[in-house]
Amino acid sequence: MPKPEILDPQGKAVLGALPRLGFSGVSEVRQGKRFELEVAGEVTPAVLAEVEKMAETLLSNPVIENYVVSVEA
Protein backbone atom coordinates (compact mmCIF):
# COMPACT_ATOMS: atom_id res chain seq x y z
CA MET A 1 0.00 0.00 0.00
CA PRO A 2 1.13 3.57 -0.57
CA LYS A 3 2.26 5.03 2.75
CA PRO A 4 -0.39 7.21 4.41
CA GLU A 5 1.56 10.41 3.73
CA ILE A 6 2.04 9.61 0.02
CA LEU A 7 -0.56 11.03 -2.38
CA ASP A 8 -2.51 8.27 -4.13
CA PRO A 9 -3.96 9.74 -7.36
CA GLN A 10 -5.52 6.41 -8.37
CA GLY A 11 -7.38 6.13 -5.08
CA LYS A 12 -8.56 9.71 -5.55
CA ALA A 13 -9.93 8.83 -9.00
CA VAL A 14 -11.84 5.89 -7.54
CA LEU A 15 -13.15 8.08 -4.72
CA GLY A 16 -14.41 10.56 -7.31
CA ALA A 17 -16.16 7.81 -9.30
CA LEU A 18 -18.12 6.32 -6.39
CA PRO A 19 -20.69 9.15 -5.95
CA ARG A 20 -21.23 9.23 -9.71
CA LEU A 21 -22.41 5.62 -9.43
CA GLY A 22 -24.68 6.43 -6.53
CA PHE A 23 -22.46 5.12 -3.73
CA SER A 24 -22.21 7.51 -0.81
CA GLY A 25 -20.52 7.70 2.57
CA VAL A 26 -16.98 6.81 1.47
CA SER A 27 -14.53 9.48 2.62
CA GLU A 28 -11.22 8.03 1.44
CA VAL A 29 -9.97 5.40 -1.02
CA ARG A 30 -6.39 4.17 -1.26
CA GLN A 31 -5.30 1.68 -3.86
CA GLY A 32 -2.52 -0.84 -3.40
CA LYS A 33 -1.26 -4.05 -4.94
CA ARG A 34 -1.59 -7.70 -3.99
CA PHE A 35 0.85 -10.39 -5.10
CA GLU A 36 0.11 -14.08 -4.74
CA LEU A 37 3.25 -16.20 -4.61
CA GLU A 38 3.10 -19.97 -4.73
CA VAL A 39 6.02 -21.83 -3.19
CA ALA A 40 6.88 -25.49 -3.44
CA GLY A 41 6.62 -27.29 -0.13
CA GLU A 42 5.99 -25.96 3.33
CA VAL A 43 6.24 -22.27 4.26
CA THR A 44 8.99 -22.56 6.83
CA PRO A 45 10.31 -19.51 8.69
CA ALA A 46 13.26 -19.54 6.28
CA VAL A 47 10.94 -19.45 3.26
CA LEU A 48 8.89 -16.71 4.86
CA ALA A 49 12.03 -14.68 5.52
CA GLU A 50 12.96 -15.07 1.86
CA VAL A 51 9.53 -13.85 0.77
CA GLU A 52 9.84 -10.88 3.14
CA LYS A 53 13.10 -10.06 1.37
CA MET A 54 11.38 -10.26 -2.03
CA ALA A 55 8.67 -7.93 -0.76
CA GLU A 56 11.21 -5.43 0.44
CA THR A 57 13.59 -5.49 -2.53
CA LEU A 58 11.37 -5.92 -5.57
CA LEU A 59 7.65 -6.22 -4.91
CA SER A 60 7.41 -2.95 -2.97
CA ASN A 61 9.35 0.28 -2.89
CA PRO A 62 9.82 0.92 0.85
CA VAL A 63 10.39 4.62 0.12
CA ILE A 64 6.70 5.08 -0.74
CA GLU A 65 4.97 1.81 0.14
CA ASN A 66 4.30 -0.39 3.16
CA TYR A 67 3.83 -4.14 2.78
CA VAL A 68 2.37 -7.04 4.75
CA VAL A 69 3.19 -10.70 4.10
CA SER A 70 0.55 -13.25 5.03
CA VAL A 71 0.40 -17.03 4.51
CA GLU A 72 -2.60 -18.91 3.19
CA ALA A 73 -2.75 -22.68 2.81
Binding site: L7, P9, A13, L58, N61, V63, I64
Partner: protein
Amino acid sequence: MKVGVVTFPGSLDDVDAQRAVRIGGNEAVALWHADADLKGVDAVVLPGGFSYGDYLRCGAISRFAPVMTEVVRAAGAGLPVLGICNGFQILCESHLLPGALIRNDHRKFVCRDQKLRIENNRTPWTSSYEQGAEITVVLKNGEGGFVADAETLARIEGEGQVVARYLEVNPNGSLNDIAGITNARGNVVGLMPHPEHAVEELTGSGTDGLGFFTSFAAATFA
Protein backbone atom coordinates in the same frame (compact mmCIF):
# COMPACT_ATOMS: atom_id res chain seq x y z
CA MET B 1 34.80 11.85 -23.69
CA LYS B 2 32.84 8.63 -24.11
CA VAL B 3 29.27 8.75 -22.85
CA GLY B 4 27.36 5.48 -22.62
CA VAL B 5 23.60 5.48 -23.26
CA VAL B 6 21.79 2.41 -21.95
CA THR B 7 19.02 0.82 -23.99
CA PHE B 8 16.48 -1.18 -21.96
CA PRO B 9 13.56 -3.04 -23.52
CA GLY B 10 11.05 -0.20 -23.84
CA SER B 11 13.52 2.71 -23.85
CA LEU B 12 12.31 5.41 -26.24
CA ASP B 13 14.75 8.27 -26.04
CA ASP B 14 18.03 6.38 -26.22
CA VAL B 15 18.72 7.44 -29.82
CA ASP B 16 17.85 11.09 -29.05
CA ALA B 17 20.16 10.93 -26.04
CA GLN B 18 22.98 9.52 -28.17
CA ARG B 19 22.43 12.31 -30.67
CA ALA B 20 22.47 14.93 -27.91
CA VAL B 21 25.72 13.45 -26.61
CA ARG B 22 27.29 13.84 -30.08
CA ILE B 23 25.94 17.37 -30.56
CA GLY B 24 27.43 18.14 -27.17
CA GLY B 25 30.83 17.24 -28.63
CA ASN B 26 31.28 13.78 -27.15
CA GLU B 27 31.30 10.20 -28.35
CA ALA B 28 28.08 8.25 -27.75
CA VAL B 29 28.50 4.58 -26.85
CA ALA B 30 25.45 2.28 -26.97
CA LEU B 31 25.14 0.13 -23.86
CA TRP B 32 22.78 -2.84 -23.62
CA HIS B 33 20.70 -3.63 -20.54
CA ALA B 34 21.63 -7.32 -20.56
CA ASP B 35 25.39 -6.73 -20.71
CA ALA B 36 27.20 -6.15 -17.43
CA ASP B 37 29.71 -4.03 -19.33
CA LEU B 38 30.14 -0.26 -19.39
CA LYS B 39 32.69 -0.46 -22.23
CA GLY B 40 35.06 1.92 -20.50
CA VAL B 41 32.81 4.98 -20.78
CA ASP B 42 33.46 8.20 -18.85
CA ALA B 43 29.80 8.79 -18.03
CA VAL B 44 26.41 7.09 -18.42
CA VAL B 45 22.98 8.35 -19.46
CA LEU B 46 19.84 6.37 -18.58
CA PRO B 47 17.30 7.58 -21.15
CA GLY B 48 13.56 8.10 -21.04
CA GLY B 49 10.85 5.69 -22.11
CA PHE B 50 8.91 2.84 -20.58
CA SER B 51 11.53 0.24 -19.69
CA TYR B 52 10.00 -3.20 -19.12
CA GLY B 53 6.63 -1.62 -19.89
CA ASP B 54 6.67 0.21 -16.54
CA TYR B 55 5.50 -3.12 -15.08
CA LEU B 56 5.37 -3.36 -11.28
CA ARG B 57 6.58 0.23 -10.83
CA CYS B 58 8.41 2.53 -13.24
CA GLY B 59 12.07 1.52 -13.15
CA ALA B 60 11.56 -1.29 -10.64
CA ILE B 61 12.57 -4.12 -12.96
CA SER B 62 15.25 -2.16 -14.85
CA ARG B 63 17.04 -1.75 -11.55
CA PHE B 64 17.94 -5.44 -11.65
CA ALA B 65 19.22 -5.43 -15.26
CA PRO B 66 22.83 -6.68 -15.47
CA VAL B 67 24.07 -3.29 -16.71
CA MET B 68 22.63 -1.59 -13.61
CA THR B 69 24.85 -3.62 -11.29
CA GLU B 70 27.79 -2.01 -13.07
CA VAL B 71 26.18 1.44 -13.13
CA VAL B 72 25.51 1.30 -9.37
CA ARG B 73 29.07 0.15 -8.68
CA ALA B 74 30.63 2.80 -10.96
CA ALA B 75 28.36 5.56 -9.61
CA GLY B 76 29.58 4.68 -6.13
CA ALA B 77 33.12 5.25 -7.40
CA GLY B 78 32.19 8.68 -8.79
CA LEU B 79 31.17 7.99 -12.40
CA PRO B 80 28.85 10.75 -13.67
CA VAL B 81 25.36 9.32 -14.28
CA LEU B 82 22.38 11.21 -15.70
CA GLY B 83 18.90 9.67 -15.58
CA ILE B 84 16.24 11.40 -17.64
CA CYS B 85 12.53 10.73 -16.95
CA ASN B 86 12.35 6.91 -16.85
CA GLY B 87 16.10 7.05 -16.13
CA PHE B 88 15.35 9.24 -13.07
CA GLN B 89 12.79 6.64 -11.95
CA ILE B 90 15.40 3.88 -12.35
CA LEU B 91 17.94 5.86 -10.29
CA CYS B 92 15.42 6.26 -7.46
CA GLU B 93 14.47 2.58 -7.57
CA SER B 94 18.20 1.74 -7.50
CA HIS B 95 18.59 3.94 -4.40
CA LEU B 96 21.26 5.96 -6.16
CA LEU B 97 18.97 8.94 -5.58
CA PRO B 98 16.64 9.62 -2.64
CA GLY B 99 12.86 9.77 -2.94
CA ALA B 100 10.55 8.32 -5.58
CA LEU B 101 8.41 9.33 -8.56
CA ILE B 102 4.68 8.70 -8.39
CA ARG B 103 1.73 9.25 -10.73
CA ASN B 104 1.05 12.90 -11.61
CA ASP B 105 -1.32 14.44 -9.06
CA HIS B 106 -3.80 15.39 -11.82
CA ARG B 107 -3.63 11.78 -13.17
CA LYS B 108 -3.08 12.83 -16.79
CA PHE B 109 -0.01 12.43 -18.98
CA VAL B 110 1.63 15.83 -19.39
CA CYS B 111 3.53 17.01 -22.47
CA ARG B 112 4.64 20.64 -22.58
CA ASP B 113 7.52 23.05 -23.00
CA GLN B 114 8.50 23.50 -19.37
CA LYS B 115 10.38 26.37 -17.80
CA LEU B 116 13.00 25.36 -15.23
CA ARG B 117 15.53 27.03 -12.98
CA ILE B 118 18.95 25.43 -12.56
CA GLU B 119 19.41 25.37 -8.79
CA ASN B 120 22.76 23.60 -8.65
CA ASN B 121 25.41 24.12 -11.34
CA ARG B 122 28.10 22.23 -9.46
CA THR B 123 27.27 18.79 -10.86
CA PRO B 124 29.12 17.29 -13.86
CA TRP B 125 25.87 17.61 -15.81
CA THR B 126 24.97 21.23 -15.05
CA SER B 127 28.27 23.11 -14.83
CA SER B 128 27.70 24.73 -18.25
CA TYR B 129 24.76 26.67 -16.79
CA GLU B 130 24.86 29.81 -14.70
CA GLN B 131 23.57 29.26 -11.18
CA GLY B 132 19.89 30.23 -11.31
CA ALA B 133 19.71 30.04 -15.11
CA GLU B 134 16.17 29.78 -16.46
CA ILE B 135 15.75 27.33 -19.32
CA THR B 136 12.88 25.77 -21.27
CA VAL B 137 12.89 22.10 -22.25
CA VAL B 138 10.24 19.51 -23.06
CA LEU B 139 8.53 17.68 -20.23
CA LYS B 140 6.53 14.52 -20.91
CA ASN B 141 5.56 12.11 -18.18
CA GLY B 142 2.73 10.25 -16.53
CA GLU B 143 4.53 9.42 -13.31
CA GLY B 144 6.72 12.42 -12.60
CA GLY B 145 5.58 13.50 -9.16
CA PHE B 146 8.69 13.65 -6.99
CA VAL B 147 8.04 12.64 -3.39
CA ALA B 148 10.21 12.00 -0.34
CA ASP B 149 9.57 11.94 3.38
CA ALA B 150 9.87 15.24 5.23
CA GLU B 151 13.29 14.46 6.66
CA THR B 152 14.73 13.46 3.26
CA LEU B 153 13.19 16.50 1.62
CA ALA B 154 14.70 18.82 4.23
CA ARG B 155 18.09 17.17 3.75
CA ILE B 156 18.18 17.45 -0.05
CA GLU B 157 17.02 21.07 0.16
CA GLY B 158 19.53 21.87 2.89
CA GLU B 159 22.45 20.17 1.14
CA GLY B 160 21.75 21.84 -2.19
CA GLN B 161 20.82 18.56 -3.86
CA VAL B 162 17.95 20.10 -5.81
CA VAL B 163 19.37 20.48 -9.32
CA ALA B 164 16.37 21.94 -11.15
CA ARG B 165 13.00 23.32 -10.14
CA TYR B 166 9.80 23.87 -12.15
CA LEU B 167 8.95 27.51 -12.78
CA GLU B 168 5.48 29.05 -13.28
CA VAL B 169 3.67 25.68 -13.41
CA ASN B 170 4.13 22.59 -11.27
CA PRO B 171 3.22 20.06 -13.97
CA ASN B 172 2.96 16.88 -11.91
CA GLY B 173 2.61 17.63 -8.21
CA SER B 174 6.30 17.27 -7.37
CA LEU B 175 7.06 18.38 -3.81
CA ASN B 176 8.76 21.79 -3.64
CA ASP B 177 8.46 22.02 -7.48
CA ILE B 178 11.44 19.67 -7.74
CA ALA B 179 12.30 18.71 -11.33
CA GLY B 180 15.71 17.17 -10.70
CA ILE B 181 18.01 16.17 -7.88
CA THR B 182 21.53 14.90 -7.29
CA ASN B 183 23.07 12.50 -4.77
CA ALA B 184 25.16 13.64 -1.82
CA ARG B 185 28.37 13.23 -3.82
CA GLY B 186 26.95 15.21 -6.75
CA ASN B 187 27.87 12.80 -9.58
CA VAL B 188 24.43 11.22 -10.07
CA VAL B 189 21.67 13.46 -11.41
CA GLY B 190 18.03 12.58 -12.08
CA LEU B 191 15.84 14.88 -14.12
CA MET B 192 12.19 14.50 -15.11
CA PRO B 193 12.21 16.93 -18.10
CA HIS B 194 14.04 16.02 -21.32
CA PRO B 195 17.08 18.17 -22.17
CA GLU B 196 18.00 15.73 -24.97
CA HIS B 197 14.95 16.97 -26.90
CA ALA B 198 16.15 20.56 -26.69
CA VAL B 199 19.52 20.52 -28.42
CA GLU B 200 18.60 21.67 -31.95
CA GLU B 201 16.51 24.61 -33.15
CA LEU B 202 14.86 22.50 -35.87
CA THR B 203 13.24 19.92 -33.63
CA GLY B 204 12.91 21.37 -30.18
CA SER B 205 11.74 24.29 -28.14
CA GLY B 206 15.26 25.66 -28.49
CA THR B 207 18.73 24.53 -27.46
CA ASP B 208 18.46 25.15 -23.72
CA GLY B 209 19.02 21.46 -22.96
CA LEU B 210 22.42 21.26 -24.59
CA GLY B 211 24.22 22.30 -21.42
CA PHE B 212 23.52 18.92 -19.86
CA PHE B 213 25.59 17.31 -22.60
CA THR B 214 28.47 19.80 -22.66
CA SER B 215 28.86 20.24 -18.90
CA PHE B 216 30.71 17.16 -17.75
CA ALA B 217 33.47 17.39 -20.36
CA ALA B 218 34.07 20.98 -19.33
CA ALA B 219 34.09 19.96 -15.67
CA THR B 220 36.49 17.09 -16.29
CA PHE B 221 39.01 19.16 -18.21
CA ALA B 222 38.71 22.24 -16.02
